[in-house]
């Protein structure tokens, strides 16, 4: 008996031990170490521009610098002039529209609304010189601004509201002698400050990335791989790899984590099989980790004046929460993303479109569980309200920027009717004068600020009955979150009935036993003996 008990105990213990032993713990990821080794070696430029006599001159105009560049790089400007960085538009297929050309010329957003009629200010982020209005000459190679991307002196700076010209303080000779491969600060000069300040738009792209630690971003960390933007957003013939869906629409030339990490990056194959979940979903648990980003922008509040003058209110972080020129803002830090299905294509509100549903989604990102190309991605949703024409049912492109009072710019005259009239007139659209403010939403996929492995999401962040990160994402079965209520109900009923039946049976047996004992103990004994 004892020996047998030991055998049984041993076989049960053996099974449980096997489970623990066969359950593999993660070991060393060789592929990842190889990648780190590969990217630790920073490329050495083949030319030191500071040694070139041609560049050792005092340039009169920034266009002279461009001409000097073209003197050696005789064909490069043609590549640039074919790029969206220059043209501010791209032609591609959009579902429901067919072939369409979209870009900053004909889309609007719910931040500063749009570039149309405001070129002089907005062109601070155009890689050209002299875009004062909508008649910019896109075929003049001399107006290509090579320096904004290739300056390595950290001295180059585009002037405020100077139509894309450099600030007067810039020493063009120093800049020209320094040129090289774009650094984070070059890309960041525009991509960090979109919307009028640091981290206003993206939430995951901001100046803290210039010198951050691994907690903020494992790739760009100064104490980590210290990768630059162009390491991933590599360029072939000046066409940058990567798509941002606040301006893009098609699923082409995108930059993917998988480009380096392959489509089976985890040692645990169970994780690799999460093919419908984008890497970013688990590996970017929060965005705006260091500095806050704008989550809401209410244009309807703009225009309040104090003693006839515009004013501003700041929060404790020194961020504007109110500006007479722009309205009311909500800032947030360490934000948990929203999650949506996305297949790599998007539609956009194009100037002149009419709308009926509110809030207006300015850039609807396409995708669903049933669409096999779709993955779950993290997004920043930027909400706000902006001006709309009740009669034409169009969102309005107002003229915001003006150099002086009386030229109908909202930032000078604070008159929505005048600003809208002027703006819509410039983009060639009607304006009835009957306006109101409608709610709008914009979707910004979150792709940066990748956290260290141990900070990424756990299974239970999504695979949990209630309150999970994907609680709001329907249309598919998520183990741990979902269940079939009928199966659960009937199953529980059967289980509970079994337990109740067993209990009733036990009680009857006990009652019978007690009664027997009480009655005739002796007789009971004789009955039981063989």
């Amino acid at each position: 008996m004892n020996k047998n008990l030991v055998i049984t105990t041993v076989s049960v213990a053996a099974v449980l031990t096997l489970i623990v032993l066969l359950h593999k713990e993660e070991t060393y990821n060789v592929h990842l170490e190889k990648l780190k080794q590969e990217y630790a070696i920073k490329p050495t430029p083949s030319v030191d521009h500071s040694k070139l006599a041609l560049l050792r001159q005092d340039f009169e105009t920034p266009q002279d610098v461009t001409r000097a560049c073209i003197f050696c790089h005789t064909e490069r400007h043609k590549e640039i002039m074919g790029s969206s960085h220059w043209n501010w538009e791209r032609t591609g297929y959009i579902e429901g529209r067919g072939l369409a050309t979209i870009g900053k010329k004909n889309i609007i957003n719910n931040f500063c609304i749009g570039a149309g009629a405001n070129e002089q200010a907005c062109a601070k982020c155009h890689i050209g010189f002299g875009m004062t209005n909508d008649r910019f000459d896109f075929s003049n190679a001399a107006n290509v601004d090579c320096m904004v991307c290739h300056d390595n002196s950290e001295e180059y700076l585009k002037g405020s509201s100077m139509a894309g010209y450099p600030d007067r303080s810039v020493n063009l000779r120093n800049v020209a002698l320094s040129v090289g491969s774009p650094r984070k600060s070059n890309c960041g000069a525009c991509h960090f400050y979109g919307g009028g300040g640091n981290n206003v738009k993206h939430g995951d792209l901001e100046e803290s990335l210039l010198a951050c630690d691994r907690e903020v971003d494992v790739h760009m960390a100064a104490n980590g791989m210290d990768m630059s933007c162009v390491t991933c957003h590599s360029a072939e013939n000046h066409v940058m790899k990567g798509r941002l869906y606040s301006v893009s629409a098609d699923n082409k030339n995108r930059a993917f984590c998988e480009d380096c990490h392959t489509d089976s990056p985890h040692l645990d194959n169970l994780l690799n099989r999460h093919t419908r979940v984008a890497c970013q979903t688990c590996h970017i648990p929060h965005y705006a980790k260091v500095n806050a980003t704008k989550m809401e922008w209410k244009w309807s509040e703009a225009g309040r004046l104090e003693h006839g003058k515009p004013y501003s209110i700041e929060n404790e972080d020194g961020k504007h929460i109110y500006l007479s020129t722009k309205g009311e803002f909500l800032w947030e830090k360490n934000v948990i993303p929203d999650y949506i299905w996305f297949n790599g294509t998007a539609d956009h509100y194009l100037l002149g479109d009419t709308v009926g549903d509110f809030p207006v989604v300015i850039n609807p990102l396409n995708g669903s569980y049933d669409d096999k190309r779709s993955q779950i991605i993290p997004v920043k949703v930027h909400r706000g309200d902006q001006i709309y024409d009740r009669q034409t049912r169009m969102l309005v492109q107002p003229k915001l920027f003006g150099t002086q009072k009386g030229d109908s710019a909202f930032w000078q005259d604070f008159d929505w009717a005048l600003a809208s009239e002027a703006g819509m007139n410039r983009v060639g659209l009607p304006f009835s004068g009957d306006y109101k403010f409608v709610e709008t939403e914009m979707y910004w996929p979150v792709n940066h600020m990748v956290s260290p492995k141990d900070k990424s999401l756990d299974c239970a962040h999504c695979h949990v009955r209630e309150g999970g990160r994907l609680a709001g994402l329907g249309g598919f079965y998520l183990p741990g979150r979902d269940r079939n209520s009928t199966v659960d109900m009937v199953g529980k009923l059967i289980l509970y009935l079994s337990i109740i039946a067993v209990l009733i049976h036990t009680i009857i047996r006990i009652v019978v036993l007690v009664r027997e004992r009480k009655s005739v103990v002796a007789q009971d004994d004789s009955e039981r003996s063989p």
Partner: protein
């Protein structure tokens, strides 16, 4: 009375290791289902899958054993005495009557056991095993043979959960029924040491199916 070997060594090993695996898989499985939190979802899934592979191996051995030793014959269903057996559990055992169908080496399962265990073997376990395998490999199947779509996961999970509820209900009743032997521990002892006291006079041709 004589003492006979009812459960051979393999049967006992099979029974107890299967018991351990089934209970462990129920615990981890219902955690994955979201019923409670114990190991944490990640560990629960990992343990559940490892245990599943062990159980599959065990089932393969058991099937082989049943066919090579003719052990499967114990599960041939019969309606003979089934009412008597039900009546015994409902009434007879409270009156101190003895089991209507005595256990023998040739027929160690009573008619009710035959039916329930057969159901377990050909309905509940296959439901769990098939839906479980699909649950584990549907993504690979989808890419390889295109007969399964990821959208079928809900259906797979539904069957797997239904099977699990039946299995757990079986477990409750099964564990309780082990106490209804000649004495309340005699059945469990028999499954531990393999031997059982059998009343010699009751072995007849009639019962040896």
């Amino acid at each position: 009375m004589r003492r006979v070997l009812v459960y051979k060594r393999f049967e006992r090993f099979w029974h107890w290791s299967q018991a351990a695996l089934v209970i462990f898989m129920a615990v981890t499985g219902f955690e994955i289902h979201g019923s409670y939190s114990l190991f944490g979802f990640e560990k629960a899934v990992s343990f559940h899958r490892t245990a599943a592979h062990l159980l599959l191996g065990l089932i393969a051995f058991a099937v082989f054993w049943h066919f090579t030793t003719d052990g499967w014959r114990h599960y041939i269903p019969t309606t003979r005495n089934i009412m008597a057996q039900i009546k015994f559990y409902m009434v007879g055992m409270f009156r101190g009557e003895s089991h209507p169908v005595a256990r023998t080496e040739l027929s160690k399962l009573n008619p009710l056991q035959r039916l329930v265990y057969l159901g377990l073997k050909i309905i509940i376990i296959p439901i769990l095993v098939i839906s479980g395998l699909l649950y584990m490999y549907y993504a690979d199947l989808e890419n390889a043979v295109k007969i399964i779509r990821t959208t079928d996961l809900e259906l797979i999970a539904l069957w797997h959960t239904a099977g699990a509820f039946l299995m757990v209900s079986f477990l409750v009743v099964h564990v309780y029924m082990t106490t209804t032997g000649r004495t309340s521990l005699s059945n469990i002892k028999a499954m531990l040491n393999g031997h059982e006291e059998i009343e010699t006079e009751q072995i007849t041709e009639d019962q040896a199916t």
